[in-house]
Symmetry: C2
Subunit: 259 residues, 2 copies
Amino acid sequence: MESGEIENFLHELCEVAARETLPRFRRPMSIDNKLDGGFDPVTIADQQAEAAIRAHVARQYPAHGVIGEESPAYQENAEYCWIIDPIDGTRAFISGLPSWGTLIGLTRNKTPVAGIMHQPFTGERYLATGDGAFLVHHRLRTGLRTSSRKKLAEATLLTTSPFHFPDRKIAAYQAVERQCRLARYGFDCYGYAMVAAGHVDLVIESDLNAFDIVALIPIIEQAGGVVTNWQGDVACNGGDILASANPQLHEQALAILSG
Amino acid sequence: MESGEIENFLHELCEVAARETLPRFRRPMSIDNKLDGGFDPVTIADQQAEAAIRAHVARQYPAHGVIGEESPAYQENAEYCWIIDPIDGTRAFISGLPSWGTLIGLTRNKTPVAGIMHQPFTGERYLATGDGAFLVHHRLRTGLRTSSRKKLAEATLLTTSPFHFPDRKIAAYQAVERQCRLARYGFDCYGYAMVAAGHVDLVIESDLNAFDIVALIPIIEQAGGVVTNWQGDVACNGGDILASANPQLHEQALAILSG
């Protein structure tokens, strides 16, 4: 697939997903029901969006695979696979906070080659298709470039919550945080977009699923950043993730996290 | 002043401030310099916006007072005073995160009567002028109503960082958090807007300045919520703040925080 064809299709999939998610965002019903374990419009939004994406892929590219949270993997050994999470950040979604996003990644022979993070409320689309990384917002297309800050002492670090780390990992996370200039919490997949855009320097999280991270890898890498797990291996299988603005910063954080 | 006159002027002041803040948001220069203690475009944005607001008030309402962070209070004993913070959430601002806001409150004889929280990047304006609380966004005007969740066990709690509390207050905060259904971090003044809009049920913070909270009090109160300090006294002088969706929830959280 050519880069332009991939980009057009990523935008189509975002629109298909947004028709299911955005009308359910900030509806009081969504909040009341989600955490009571009853009727759950958030999961319905997630499921409906995933079903709509799967149907659209099957229609346009019947030979491709799809891997997502809500249904079993489909043709997962196909050359091209779409790795999707229609609502990454459901807790933000139910709290009215526009830091959730729709993640759609494309792998070719198991390697991430393209991805998009769409925040339908703000309208931001952070994407990469092999030709570099871009923000598309209000019909403007801006090239993304990670920051050139190369020392932890200059870096801004994001993690969704410092309490998401299990006991044996929290010490490693905190050791990095202590060396950083600034740490901020919250923001889910939006934080990775901020690394690609050069505003934030590091994101550290643990125990992610593949569909939480695959879409974000090409965006950060094609903007100049690095994404691996805490052992320095490929991030595309999920696990404990470190995303950095540049290789120098990555090396310093990795030395602490893997130690 | 009539409610309509106040609202028109709040919108004017937001536009005056946004001309100084928004063009400086997500500019790499702002990030690099802010925390090095050198040339500091964030503080410049804050100062320029405050100066522009002060000048606009002096031109339109020369008898009114203005109280803000960047300059000494002006006519602070006037019947009407504008209490302003052009960039509430500077750390979010320098991290590219759209959870900062411009806060403009109006007091009459020291009592908050109107306020607005403007997030110029998303375009949301949460406001109250005595006629109820509203969100103005994309030319749509929507009435705001806090949630009716009345038990901590049903509540979503927000605080900017669990590490902002000094030692003697963290235990009280954590005692509330443990009873809540969900806690989220980050989001600065945006979190209070989410309480007014019914998506979040509680915000707890410590050691705020008056200009961090005065604008938000009428928005939450006129949407049905309650804002006091941790002793249950008026919040308009700042300090340790509890904002709740309704009186029942407020009472339960206050019993823990004041104990």
